[in-house]
């Protein structure tokens, strides 16, 4: 047999990407079967930071589960707060004052902007660009300062309560937020010039990492991933909750199905979120931030309740089953990134390693939320 004859043996090898790898943003492990640099098969392996949040919920009172919600998706903690308090309010029939709803939406959207900014920086870091990360953190720091002045913490917020929010905003919040909106709007062209229009980035993202609308439906992908594949689905528009119906905003949808489309969806969402925050500040009514008749010990009526919210990564649903006691009988959390990650195995088949990692970055994975 000559030296150049194709060997019959299987020439693939297994590459363990993670659980400690710079591109997986946490303890995700992907078992890659590689043929040279081409990926033959990819299998995400989960569970390295599984913390049994759902089971924990069954062993705690309804209110005691609140701090857990901020620790699943630590980048968009307020949306998780929002999803959980909304479902319990629906179950227990608690009315929320209007001012509290406005504050919830304003802070949750600020949090969404900060999440997208962090994703932006980390994504460019995955692609090898360093400085945009620091520029994004510079802006994000302003959001964290604003949110700290309201919620008291900077990352794992626990701000929403059944029937309202934990405390009212201070005098600096409204002017500070307006100044921030102006600042970020002035900075967005810089981000686009530095990153979006950069030929290297365009070559790396355009027509790379296709995720068809079909595949999104098959795996239940939501959020920017499905909106980058041409599916117009946003819980804020299509199953409106809170005061989103009163807000005027667009849902950015791109149908190129490539990594660039998902990138553009998120960049446009930052601008749309700024619009929502601005309208919220304009319309912010006076009044209490906490409902008056909230029982000390919440015992929702027997039943099965579900509520979904749109987080920065997609649709987050909470299903609670109440047996009328002071603890949930069953608590089920539907986290968006779990579905978004599931399609990675199919989507990256036959791709080169650097492109697959760009695709993984464009899914915006937050591992603690996948593992819960």
């Amino acid at each position: 047999m000559s030296a150049f004859a194709k060997s019959e043996a299987n020439e693939t090898f297994v590459l363990n990407l993670g659980p400690q790898h710079p591109a997986t943003h946490g303890v995700l492990r992907v078992k890659l079967t590689m043929d040279g640099e081409y990926i033959v098969e990819a299998e995400p392996v989960l569970g390295y930071i599984h913390r049994m949040h759902e089971k924990m919920g069954e062993n705690r009172t309804w209110a005691q589960f609140l701090p857990n919600t901020g620790r699943m998706d630590y980048l968009h903690a307020l949306a998780y707060n929002h999803g959980y308090v909304s479902v319990v309010e629906r179950a227990a029939g608690i009315e929320v004052p209007e001012r509290a709803e406005y504050l919830r939406v304003i802070t949750a959207e600020l949090n969404r902007v900060s999440s997208h900014l962090l994703w932006f920086g980390a994504f460019i870091l995955d692609l090898g660009g360093f400085s945009p990360l620091l520029y994004a953190f510079d802006d994000r720091e302003h959001i964290l300062d604003l949110l700290e002045s309201v919620t008291g913490s900077r990352l794992t917020y626990c701000y929403f309560r059944f029937g309202g929010v934990y405390n009212d905003i201070d005098d600096n919040f409204v002017p500070g937020t307006r100044a921030f909106i102006k600042r970020l709007r002035d900075r967005m062209p810089m981000y686009h010039n530095l990153v979006t229009k950069n030929i290297i980035l365009m070559k790396r993202l355009q027509e790379v990492g296709p995720i068809s609308a079909e595949m999104c439906r098959k795996y239940g992908a939501t959020g920017p991933v499905c909106r980058g594949s041409g599916i117009n689905f946003d819980v804020r528009k299509h199953e409106p909750y809170s005061i989103y119906p009163e807000m005027d905003f667009d849902v950015p949808v791109y149908d190129q199905c490539e990594s660039m489309a998902r990138y553009m969806v998120r960049m446009d969402e930052i601008e749309q979120s700024l619009r929502i925050i601005e309208q919220g500040l304009d319309k912010l009514p006076e009044g209490p931030v906490m409902a008056e008749k909230v029982p000390k010990i919440i015992k929702p009526a027997k039943g099965d309740y579900y509520h979904a919210v749109e987080t920065a990564r997609g649709s987050f649903g909470v299903r609670v089953v109440s047996d009328g006691s002071n603890t949930p009988y069953r608590l089920k959390l539907r986290s968006p990134t779990f579905s978004n990650l599931s399609l990675f195995g199919e989507a990256c088949q036959g791709m080169l390693l650097p492109d697959a990692l760009a695709l993984m970055g464009s899914l915006d994975l937050v591992i603690p939320e996948i593992d819960r």
Binding site: L15, P22, E37, L127, G129, F130, S131, I200, P354, D355
Partner: protein
């Protein structure tokens, strides 16, 4: 006892060149950190000494005192020889670089050829180190280094051949001497030889980035993809020597670009030529290399191959043909 003064001169230059390479490697790390920090609006190293100037010394001591871990299963010879194979050719290249009219270790007639010959050994060092360290990431990195080598060597050499056609010599000293007398005599603006000379400089610069494995062509050590690429298994001074070799290569690349295109030690306005102008130009190019690294995302290796075969090689060949035609006509 009679000692040939030439031997003493060579010894002095050898020590000087090694010291220059090592000092540059150390302080380019400082420059890189400082420049990156200011681009990102931070301060960077500032604790050790004024402006953190002693930071490289402390880093060096730290690297030297660390244990050299040789992982089980590596090829012990290749694993240990690879950092030296990266470092030595880089230092060897310094021998023929004229820093000023008189400051050169050995003025070789084929100086340019010597530099390119030694520059190619760098790839071999990385390949052996990656292969010897028995790590999958390192092996992928080695494959990338080799494919990258094919991509950038051709346009680089074609550009250099164009330049040699114009100058008619491979002696670096003579190439600089031809460019004396102000910036309009420099090869980068030698538009009468070929109107594409500035483009040729850009091509050379891009290939130099690829040759030194610098961003945006740092696929070989792409930290978000391959952890640390070829250096994944290296620790302590093994890693440190690789690092010094990399920076020495950048210095070589910037020096060659200065000599070939920017007139070497010539002053832009024709006044006071000397080694300081050489260093100013060289460090400006190095500054640009670092500046580029902290601005752009990384390309992929097929991106580099596309760039090379579809853009750089056609343009450099076009430049070659254009130059030879113009040399013939005028």
């Amino acid at each position: 006892m009679h000692v040939d003064p030439e031997i003493i001169r060579l010894l002095a230059f050898l020590v000087g060149v090694i010291a220059f390479a090592a000092l540059n490697a150390a302080y380019l790390v400082w420059l890189e950190r400082k420049e990156a920090a200011h681009i990102q609006r931070r301060i960077g190293p500032k604790e050790v000494g004024p402006f953190g100037l002693f930071q490289p010394l402390v880093d060096g001591i730290k690297l030297m005192t660390k244990q050299l871990i040789v992982p089980a299963g590596v090829d012990p010879v290749l694993f240990k020889i690879a950092p030296i194979l990266v470092m030595v050719p880089a230092i060897m290249s310094f021998v023929t670089i004229p820093f000023s009219e008189t400051l050169v270790a050995r003025n070789l007639d084929l100086g340019l050829l010597v530099i390119f010959a030694f520059a190619s050994v760098n790839v071999l060092g990385l390949l052996l180190g990656a292969w010897g360290s028995r790590n999958k990431y390192a092996v992928i990195s080695a494959a990338r280094v080799v494919s990258q080598n094919v991509a950038y060597e051709i346009p680089m050499l074609v550009t250099v051949v164009t330049l040699v056609m114009i100058t008619g010599t491979m002696n670096l000293h003579n190439i600089v001497m031809q460019q004396q007398g102000g910036f309009w005599h420099w090869n980068i603006l030698n538009l009468s030889a070929s109107p594409l000379m500035p483009v040729a400089f850009l091509i050379f610069f891009v290939c130099m980035l690829a040759e030194t494995n610098r961003a945006p062509f740092d696929m070989a050590e792409a930290e978000s993809e391959l952890v640390a690429g070829a250096f994944t298994e290296y620790s302590g001074m093994g890693f440190g020597v690789f690092f010094m070799g990399e920076y020495a290569n950048i210095v070589i690349g910037a020096s060659v670009a200065t000599i070939l295109f920017l007139g070497g030690w010539d002053c832009p306005l024709g006044l006071f030529p000397g080694v300081h102008w050489f260093l100013i130009k060289m460090y400006f190019l190095i500054f640009t290399v670092i500046w580029i690294r902290w601005t752009f995302p990384r390309t992929t290796f097929y991106g580099l191959l596309n760039l090379s075969w579809k853009i750089l090689i056609p343009i450099s060949f076009f430049n070659l043909i254009l130059t030879s035609a113009m040399l013939k006509v005028f």
